[in-house]
């Protein structure tokens, strides 16, 4: 089972794991690192539930192998709240806007939106919809997810009204 040693950081903490090359990054995070906040929906790149940030970029962690993460810095949903559990503005906006029901898709949406809100360019409605269409949600009908990210963007001063059509 030729396992390989791989070293990367997750939410700032160094992780040294032994994985088979066929182990996806998602399974590596869940099984080897015990970080089960990253969810697997489809395991073939369609749903986005497994989205994490790899070196700052939103990545389907089911479409990358753990061995490919050598040297990478990874951020997962476990890294969003403060150590005492206080939700960050984006998480709070999901709570306040009913941006989740069952919560299965939520970690993926949170990481995708984290990237969106950290980008240097301000966010407008068109770009919000274009980017959030990357991920699937079985429950909410999306409107409350959009409302949550919009609210967080306003709070963080990242929102810009689109020019009227």
């Amino acid at each position: 089972m030729n396992k390989r040693e791989v070293v990367f950081t997750v939410n700032g903490e160094t992780r040294r794991v032994l994985v088979e090359p066929r182990r996806t990054l998602a399974d590596t995070l869940r099984e080897e690192c015990g970080l089960t906040g990253t969810h697997l929906g489809c395991e073939h790149g369609v749903c986005g539930a497994c989205t994490v940030l790899v070196d700052g970029q939103p990545t389907r962690s089911c479409l990358m192998f753990g061995v490919q993460a050598e040297g990478a810095s990874i951020r997962t949903v476990e890294g969003l709240a403060a150590p005492d559990g206080t939700l960050n503005p984006l998480q709070r906006a999901f709570w306040e806007n009913h941006g989740l029901q069952c919560g299965y898709c939520t970690p993926g949406f949170l990481m995708l939106a984290t990237w969106l809100l950290e980008r240097p360019t301000p966010l407008d409605e068109e770009e919000l919809r274009h980017v959030l269409s990357s991920n699937l949600c079985r429950c909410t009908g999306y409107q409350n997810i959009l409302a949550a990210v919009r609210a967080a963007a306003r709070e963080l001063d990242r929102w810009t009204e689109s020019a009227p059509a």
Binding site: M1, N2, R4, E20, P21, R22, T24, D27, C42, E43, H44, G45, G48, T51, Q57, P58, T59, R60, C62, L63, M64, F65, V67, Q68, E70, L112, H130, V131, S133, S134, N135
Partner: protein
């Protein structure tokens, strides 16, 4: 939904990569963005014994215009095309096209060359490269580089002219001057889905008349195709709504769309007509 076991190599340079591909022959596969290969491995439709991960090779991410050619290296990601990579009609066309490929996270990893190697019938980059008459540059161990014209590259669904042991190192597209105008349109059911039909066109105008025209169609089920009859109807014409309609009719009449669970052939034929007209309208023929 877990890939089968394989041996993994992450070479640091191109020579090492092609040596590995030569050694493992049919058992070896290049791993580029992984955005098509990993899903097919998860479904066990592909079970390569060896993966040669090219992501750690320096100098493959180039994207530069030289001597009239845009050179697109094997690690140039889809997302790099979102803002124009070269001034003029070519950069604008590529920036328009890329918004239709999957979603932002997939575009950050997936590569232009990976799309050409994978040759999905609905690949936007494949149809675009065909329409523009691009060239593919291949490397293999101990051999000179081989060049293949886009029209000879696509052989069928997921099938290309690549030979065992070869790696696609670069795709070249002609940089288009201001006398060219281009258009792209596709139809898919949801944002980011593979298209049911698409059309790409490039036209050269001289003193108000269309002097060169190329139209490629994709998403029809087989390989991407040139709509030769449609392009021929445009030559010598003044750009007009009538000229666009005639070309779109010819594109629909001469194409050979497949039926599948996503759409029957006749629906795809209607879409070809509409997409060809939209692409031509973008290029100023309306």
């Amino acid at each position: 939904m877990k890939p089968a076991a394989f041996d993994y190599f992450a070479p640091r340079n191109l020579d090492e990569a092609v040596a590995l591909l030569a050694k493992h022959g049919e058992d070896g596969r290049v791993l580029a963005g992984g955005q098509s290969l990993v899903p097919t491995m998860a479904f066990r439709m592909a079970r390569p014994a060896v993966l040669v991960d090219i992501n750690r090779i320096e100098g493959l991410g180039h994207l530069s215009a030289q001597e009239g050619q845009l050179r697109i290296g094997a690690l140039a990601r889809h997302a790099h095309f979102e803002s124009a990579v070269t001034p003029g009609p070519l950069g604008a066309l590529l920036a328009r096209v890329v918004r239709h490929i999957a979603h932002p996270p997939i575009r950050m990893r997936g590569t232009f060359c990976g799309s050409l190697a994978h040759a999905d019938p609905a690949s936007e980059w494949c149809a675009t490269t065909l329409a523009l008459g691009g060239t593919l540059v291949l490397r293999s161990a101990g051999a000179d580089t081989r060049e293949v014209a886009a029209r000879d590259w696509f052989q069928g669904v997921f099938t290309t002219a690549i030979r065992p042991g070869e790696m696609l190192v670069e795709v070249r597209l002609p940089v288009l001057g201001p006398e060219w105008s281009c258009g792209f349109a596709e139809f898919s059911r949801r944002a980011g889905d593979f298209a049911l039909a698409m059309a790409v066109c490039a036209l050269r105008l001289d003193r108000g008349l269309i002097r060169e025209a190329s139209i490629a169609l994709g998403g029809l089920g087989g390989r991407p195709v040139l709509a030769l009859e449609a392009a021929a109807t445009l030559l010598g014409q003044v750009p007009s709504a009538e000229a666009a309609s005639a070309a779109a009719e010819a594109a629909a009449a001469h194409c050979d769309p497949h039926s599948d669970v996503h759409a029957p052939a006749e629906y795809r034929r209607d879409l070809v007509r509409a997409m060809a007209r939209r692409a031509l309208a973008q290029a100023g023929v309306a």
